[in-house]
């Protein structure tokens, strides 16, 4: 007892006492937040990853708010969304924010990916972070798919039906995945609760873990240093401080994003179509725009071909840094070939997406 009291010096400040309760090397935090940031990050297109993260935080906040009113059961889901939109105070605003932040998040993610690709930031030693990023893209698209289905209007119901059945065509494990997603041999009353659990439980957990790894790897490798032709920057101006300079910029971008989302919510508030009718498919169905690419493929080829093609494409994209490295070494391919390939791949995606958006 006497020993214990001797250790407590009256001069020890509040911070000292706290750090005794949590025996952690606080210098580490100071060190971690003092990361020097290369000057090119001052250009907005290098902040797209941060934009995605900011939008993800908005999704978490508005998403938690929405779960206070949403009821994940087939006979009440649509009604509860209608209630959120029409009766709950600021319900239309929270729901519209959630919708538009989701769309912006996917746009920002695609742009972030393009930026990383065309600046070669995925190359050695940062290959793994590209793979993690690609998994995050997959998770985000699944977020979009499951979230849209929860609205339980005609279009979203049939989108969910098609999507869940689509899994069936995956070779070998497809039937089990489809069975798991639907909660039975057909889309039924289990399906909605499953999509809900994925949307608010499983996917966020995975996303949090992968985002942590993604940022950890960025921090460990440091941000890619770039040289711009014809721009001589004195050594002193090559970097600026993460804290407080870059953090302030990010916070400002955050406010700007909130303004943008609020304008979107005001001008194009999230609407509500006809309630889901499991006995009748509407004459024209369409998924969300980020699945147009796949929807077009489904119309162009047979089910098996389009699913296997999409999976192969996904696999190649996922492992691209390693595939490119291997090809470059083996065949001495010049860099401009990879740039052209990236342009072609993106144009292909764009053409199928735009094509689908113009036809019924």
């Amino acid at each position: 007892m006497a020993d214990f009291q001797e250790q407590q010096t009256p001069q020890a400040g509040f911070f000292q006492r706290v750090s005794e309760l949590i025996p952690f090397d606080w210098e580490l935090i100071r060190h971690a937040s003092a990361e020097p940031v290369p000057y090119h990050i001052k250009k907005w297109w290098f902040c797209l990853g941060g934009t995605v993260l900011y939008l993800f935080v908005i999704q978490v906040a508005t998403g938690i708010a929405l779960t206070f009113y949403y009821v994940p059961s087939p006979d009440q889901a649509y009604e509860s969304v209608a209630q959120i939109t029409q009766d709950v105070r600021f319900g239309w605003y929270i729901r519209s924010l959630h919708k538009w932040a989701a769309n912006c998040m996917i746009v920002a993610m695609f742009l972030h990916m393009l930026r990383v690709y065309f600046t070669g930031a995925y190359r050695h030693p940062r290959q793994l972070n590209w793979c993690i990023g690609f998994l995050l893209l997959g998770i985000t698209l699944t977020f979009g798919f499951t979230g849209y289905s929860l609205v339980y209007e005609q279009l979203s119901f049939w989108g969910a039906t098609v999507g869940a059945n689509l899994a069936e065509a995956v070779p070998l494990i497809g039937p089990t995945i489809a069975y798991f997603l639907r909660g039975g041999p057909e889309v039924g009353e289990n399906t909605l609760t499953r999509f809900y659990v994925l949307h608010i439980g499983l996917l966020p957990t995975l996303a949090f873990g992968l985002v942590f790894l993604h940022i950890l790897l960025i921090r460990l490798h440091g941000v890619t240093e770039l040289e711009f032709e014809g721009k001589e920057v004195p050594e002193k101006e090559r970097h600026f401080r993460f804290w407080p300079d870059h953090a302030t910029t990010e916070l400002l971008i955050g406010v700007l994003l909130m303004y943008l989302l609020t304008i979107m919510a005001l001008v194009f508030p999230a609407g509500l179509g006809e309630p889901a009718n499991p006995t009748q498919t509407p004459e024209h169905i369409k998924p969300e725009w980020y699945f147009y690419f796949n929807f077009r493929l489904l119309k162009l080829t047979s089910l098996r071909v389009s699913v296997v093609f999409t999976m192969a494409l996904g696999g190649i994209c996922f492992l691209w840094p390693f595939i490119e490295q291997w090809l470059s070494r083996k065949f001495k391919v010049p860099d401009r070939v990879w740039v052209m390939l990236g342009v072609l791949a993106f144009l292909g995606f764009l053409v199928l997406t735009v094509w689908e958006s113009f036809v019924q």
């Binding site: 039906t161 057909e186 889309v187 499991p278 009748q280 498919t281 119309k299 047979s302 098996r304």
Partner: protein
Amino acid sequence: MEIRGLGMDLKGKSSRRDWLAAVAMGVGLAVSYGVFALEGLLFLLPRQIKVRTRNLFAGKISQIQVGGVRQLFDLEGNAILLRRKAEREFQAFSSTCPHLGCKVHWEEEEQRYFCPCHRGVFDSDGVAVSGPPADGGQNLTQIPLEVDEDAGVVYIEVKDATRRRS
């Protein structure tokens, strides 16, 4: 003092006994956690309950014209399309598209079943003729039926969830 870890001592030397112990431990742990994982997985896949079928009254023969199609529902609420093919010949199809599960409907003028999702077309016999179902060779699922000519009625065979198969 000798401290021994799994499979080897601290100097990195291992004896056969250590190695066997490590293998046994590894296998034991893998099996134990594997069983937990398997149980978790099975929990997530709902049991498929086998049910008996029964005949459901689908209508009087006289109610459907030759070449006409009538939509009715099974006991689970799934739409079934009953077609009178000829004077004494009937066909029943599940309205669920074999491609991705949308609902097909009968188009009288074109004499075809049509799925609006990906523009799948089936002829009057339920055979896929164009669109993705034709590419994949997926025809409409035929539902067994029974025509009772004496009574002048048609029955279709449907699943009855209230009658579990033991």
